[in-house]
């Protein structure tokens, strides 16, 4: 069983545990500071993320068996709470005829909605909307383009008990399952992260912060497991960002132009990156191509507009360092649109770069000033 290494970075703390269910239990419980009517609080925590990642592959070969990847529990709460959930799971299959199902099992349907995007090739996804009342728990991808190739599944979720006013604990478990009886895997380096957004409460004020590790009837670790947790003063800022001060254009269809270079990163360290680039192409018939040179173990996806209604998608391939968007039409000539990406990578020998290139020689594509990339070390 894989070890899960949650790293609660908001307070500089690190927790590690080994669990048969890869369970992480939220332990934040902010103080109620006002009584009376509902209080909407922006969080007092400066960076309320909870990260976790798989440290080993999770493999399963039976189409009627779930293998749990990650379980996220929120203990029973008296207040209304709001969380977002995100993740990038690397999946692979040993037979192209067998898709990799990524599922979400929920203890309370109405409290969580998810959008799952699971790849069927390097340029296509299947989608599943896990709605608040639906029993849908699986993405059902089609055929994979290649065997033993790692593709990224992205998921986004939102959890709140405000719809149900329930104070019961909830549990969301991500699982992997093959479409047929062949081996499929969720890969080491898959990343999960939850962000505490805030809460509302009409409870009376309290003067303490209870920090829950495990409470009530929740007991998802085996008896031999122990938790070591140390809360350390934060030593540095965790999210780093670069913004582009001057636009970068490129008319070459063969030579990439560099837009961002991420310097000062630690070799061997895994980073989570969000790219928000303002892209433009001088002609509607010329695609905006981009690549990410990360060093190693790239896993994620880039999206770029090809029309007002559909993006081009480029997924990672088996941990390659380079991803390139090769498609197609630009919605409006010289129009500026959001090009975005979400990926993780492990810093290699060279500094990671984000580069652009034109689909058509002589026609300029541009990364416009104000584009931003933000990133942070994770597990």
């Amino acid at each position: 069983m894989a070890q899960i290494n949650p790293l609660f970075l908001s307070s500089g703390s690190i927790r590690q545990m080994t669990s048969s269910l890869n369970t992480v239990i939220d332990y934040i419980h902010l103080p109620v500071t006002q009584s009376g009517s509902s209080l909407i609080a922006t969080t007092n925590l400066p960076d309320p993320y909870l990260f976790a990642s798989l440290s080993a592959n999770v493999t399963v070969n039976q189409n009627n068996i779930n293998q749990p990847l990650y379980q996220y529990d929120i203990p029973n709460r008296l207040e209304n709470y709001f969380y977002t959930s995100n993740g990038i799971i690397g999946v692979s299959t040993t037979a192209v005829g067998t898709g990799v199902r990524i599922g979400l099992l929920r203890s309370q349907l109405a409290n969580t909605a998810f959008a799952l995007k699971s790849p069927t090739s390097l340029t296509a996804f299947t989608f599943a909307n896990v709605t608040t009342l639906s029993n849908t728990t699986y993405v059902l991808p089609g055929l994979h383009a290649a065997t033993n190739t790692i593709y990224p599944t992205h998921f986004k979720g939102f959890t709140s008990n405000i719809l149900t006013s329930s104070t019961s604990s909830i549990s969301n478990t991500y699982v992997v399952q093959p479409e047929t009886n062949v081996f499929v895997s969720a890969s080491a380096g898959s990343v999960f992260y939850n962000q505490f957004i805030g809460y509302s409460s009409s409870l009376a004020p309290t003067s303490s912060i209870p920090i829950y590790f495990n409470s009530g009837s929740l007991n998802t670790l085996s008896g031999s497991d122990t938790i070591t947790s140390s809360f350390l003063p934060p030593t540095s800022s965790l999210w780093l960002s670069q913004s582009l001060a001057t636009s970068v254009s490129n008319t070459s269809a063969t030579v990439y132009a560099n837009v961002f270079t991420l310097t000062g990163l630690t070799t061997g360290q895994r980073y989570l990156t969000n790219l928000y680039m303002i892209g433009s192409s001088a002609a509607t018939t010329t695609g905006f191509r981009m690549r990410v040179v990360t060093g190693s173990q790239y896993m994620g996806t880039l999206w770029t507009p090809t029309s007002t209604t559909a993006p081009a998608i480029q997924n990672s391939e088996n941990g390659d360092n380079i991803t390139s968007i090769t498609a197609g039409d630009w919605p409006v000539a010289s129009g500026k649109y959001l090009v975005y990406g979400e990926y993780t990578f492990v810093k290699g020998a060279t500094d990671p770069q984000i580069q652009i290139i034109s689909e058509t020689a002589g026609t300029a594509v541009t990364a416009v000033s104000g584009s931003v990339i933000y990133y942070r070390p994770i597990i």
């Binding site: 500089g12 977002t84 909605a113 909307n129 122990t226 209604t309």
Partner: protein, 183 residues
């Protein structure tokens, strides 16, 4: 080419200390108020919609509970996690963004069925239909944006929704959040 490398600094000016512990199962650690840390809110900022916002209009309606009032001459990253719903499957929830004194670039991912997501760039995103068949069944709608505010005027960023069909049908947002930060 020039780059601005800035540090987004969510962890400044933290005082106080928290305890260390090694814990078996079922432990609750209480920390007295005297040792509460104090934080400077320089990280993500949040806007939460806690009451349902409904409309039957086929023109975009501002979801004022999620409106961001920004600061002039700043750049922001904006992320939205919205729970959207429609009264019938044949009626889409259209999600867009309305801005004032802001240069905005965004993408909206709107679930159109159980198997597809519609994307929009710099325009209102028009979903064909949500999968939900009743108003209490919500699907996730995602917003990604960057916003560059003008030197003057009050910069605002406001999600909007409308009903797809001219025939009156209700669409709504349930609990939703937008979080944003300067860069």
């Amino acid at each position: 080419m020039a780059l601005n490398q800035t540090i987004v600094s969510p962890l400044t000016n933290i005082t106080g200390s928290l305890s260390s512990f090694t814990s078996p199962l079922k432990s609750v650690l209480q920390i007295a108020s005297s040792s509460l840390p104090s934080y400077q809110a320089t990280g993500w900022q949040y806007k939460i919609l806690t009451s349902t916002f409904s409309t039957t209009s086929t023109t975009q309606q501002s979801v004022t509970g999620l409106q961001l009032t920004l600061v002039n001459n700043k750049k922001y990253i904006i992320n939205g996690y919205l729970l959207g719903s429609t009264s019938v499957t044949a009626n889409g929830l259209r999600v867009g963004v309305s801005t004032a004194n802001v240069e905005t670039y965004y993408a909206i991912e709107v679930p159109s069925t159980t198997t597809a997501i519609t994307y929009g760039f710099n325009a209102n995103a028009n979903a064909t239909a949500l999968a939900s068949t009743e108003l209490n069944d919500y699907s996730l709608v995602l917003i990604k944006a960057i916003a560059i505010t003008a030197a003057s005027g009050v910069p605002t960023f406001t999600p909007t929704i409308s009903s797809e069909n001219a025939t009156v049908q209700t669409v709504q947002l349930g609990p939703s959040v937008i979080y944003y930060r300067e860069y």
